[in-house]
């Protein structure tokens, strides 16, 4: 049901765009939410000691510069660590809901 509707929407947008460029970029808010969930899932599966420390991005390697300019790499490591800490539990719920919805409605 949802699939037909989104295919129909994409079909409408194709008709609109058919005589201009060939690529279709019909964004809906639902596709944005899907992309956001996928990105956060990707950040959440990065394991601390098995992966991040091996490539030098672990949090024990971030205590370097004392100053007011932490640097991009330290900021990125902090961001990854905080996203993993905060989103671990809500992601369980959101992923379960998404799986159930996809199973029920295709």
């Amino acid at each position: 049901m949802k699939n037909d509707f989104s295919v129909k929407l994409a079909g409408e947008w194709t008709k609109v765009l058919e005589d201009s460029e060939g690529t279709i970029m019909a964004f809906t808010l639902y596709s944005l939410i899907q992309a956001a969930i996928l990105c956060i899932n990707a950040v959440a599966v990065l394991h601390e000691e098995r992966f991040l420390s091996k490539i030098g991005w672990g949090v024990d390697q971030s205590v370097g510069g004392f100053g007011d300019e932490p640097g991009i790499k330290v900021q990125l490591m902090n961001l990854i660590r905080s996203v993993r800490t905060v989103m671990r539990v809500p992601l369980i719920g959101v992923n379960t809901v998404c799986i159930v919805l996809l199973l029920l409605f295709g």
């Binding site: 929407l9 409408e12 947008w13 008709k15 609109v16 765009l17 005589d19 201009s20 460029e21 970029m25 019909a26 964004f27 809906t28 808010l29 596709s31 944005l32 100053g67 007011d68 300019e69 932490p70 991009i72 900021q75 990125l76 961001l79």
Partner: protein, 308 residues
């Protein structure tokens, strides 16, 4: 806004002036006798109300409603419930975003809107780009023409959607779903741009006072350029479209670079630290220039299919 702005709200102003007179007279008549003798029998306020409201535009049905004590009690209970609900909603909303901060962005007047639109389309003669402050808080858009606002982006977004529908209708490609698709596509692009900007500002530890609403405002100014481009494309054909696209792209790039330069790039005079990290000003410059270059790309992407 008490002065009707030229394009957008002229009709709405006139429509809104008519209703309040009847309602306020009706409410004043019913509330003053009912508040005093509330705890006594309900018949006396009912009859008091029945008299004056009879020769207003109340009518016989309203008379019966106010003389019935159960309806009176139910109305008061309902209004207290509504007040409770309103307080709860306000409390919940103010946890996510402060309504006062949002009100700051909508405190505009006609003169500001006209000057800002002119600056957006022709920013080359504007001299002073500093946002003025008043005791550590930025001035409202009414008092400072450089302050960002959310009124112009919102109105321009809605106008762009309507214009897209009209353009497609002229070319006989219109159907009602297209309006929704266009609106959500444009909204999603704004969300993506604001998120990327926030992420890059966080990663480079730029301690500026650009809040999320400021970024939404600066991203929303491109809709004015889009409207101008689409209008020229509709009126003057494909050549007019490309000329208007070039003009509004250059104007918008200049505007964005000059506006964000004040906020993102460090001012050289107060750089007393002298950290010597020459990578930082360069990266901040890259952010500003990348934001500016992104605008024409998005304008072209979102409007080219409308003018064919």
């Amino acid at each position: 806004m008490d002065v009707p702005h030229h394009g957008y709200r002229a009709t709405k102003q006139r429509a809104r002036a008519a209703p309040p007179t009847g309602d306020s007279v009706l409410f004043e008549d019913t509330s003053s006798p009912a508040s005093g003798v509330n705890n006594q029998g309900f018949y006396t306020p009912g009859y008091n109300v029945g008299g004056p409201s009879n020769d207003m535009q109340g009518g016989v049905g309203v008379n019966n409603l106010f003389t019935d004590p159960m309806a009176n009690a139910a109305m008061m209970y309902g209004s207290s419930l509504a007040n409770q609900g309103k307080d709860m909603v306000n409390k919940e909303i103010s946890r996510f975003m402060s309504v006062n901060k949002l009100k700051y962005f909508f405190a505009v007047d006609t003169r500001y809107v006209l000057k800002k639109l002119m600056i957006l389309m022709f920013p080359y003669t504007h001299q002073d780009w500093e946002v003025r402050y008043h005791r550590d808080s930025p001035l409202t858009p009414r008092q400072d023409v450089n302050a960002p606002d959310l009124y112009i982006p919102t109105m321009a977004f809605i106008t762009y959607i309507l214009l897209a529908g009209m353009a497609l209708g002229i070319q006989k490609r219109f159907s009602p779903e297209v309006l929704g698709i266009c609106a959500s596509t444009a909204l999603v692009w704004i969300i993506i741009e604001v998120l990327v900007l926030l992420l890059s500002l966080y990663l480079l530890t730029v301690h500026s006072d650009l809040s999320t609403f400021d970024l939404i405002a600066y991203s929303g100014y491109k809709y004015v350029g889009m409207i101008f481009t689409v209008l020229c494309g509709l009126l003057f054909g494909s050549d007019g479209y490309f000329v208007a696209l070039a003009w509004s792209s250059c104007a918008l790039m200049f505007f964005i670079v000059r506006s964000l330069k004040m906020k993102i790039l460090p001012s050289l005079s107060s750089d007393s630290m002298g950290m010597g990290s020459s990578a930082k000003p360069q990266l901040r410059l890259y952010i500003t220039v990348a934001t500016a270059v992104f605008q024409p790309i998005i304008i072209y992407w979102l409007t080219s299919h409308l003018v064919r």
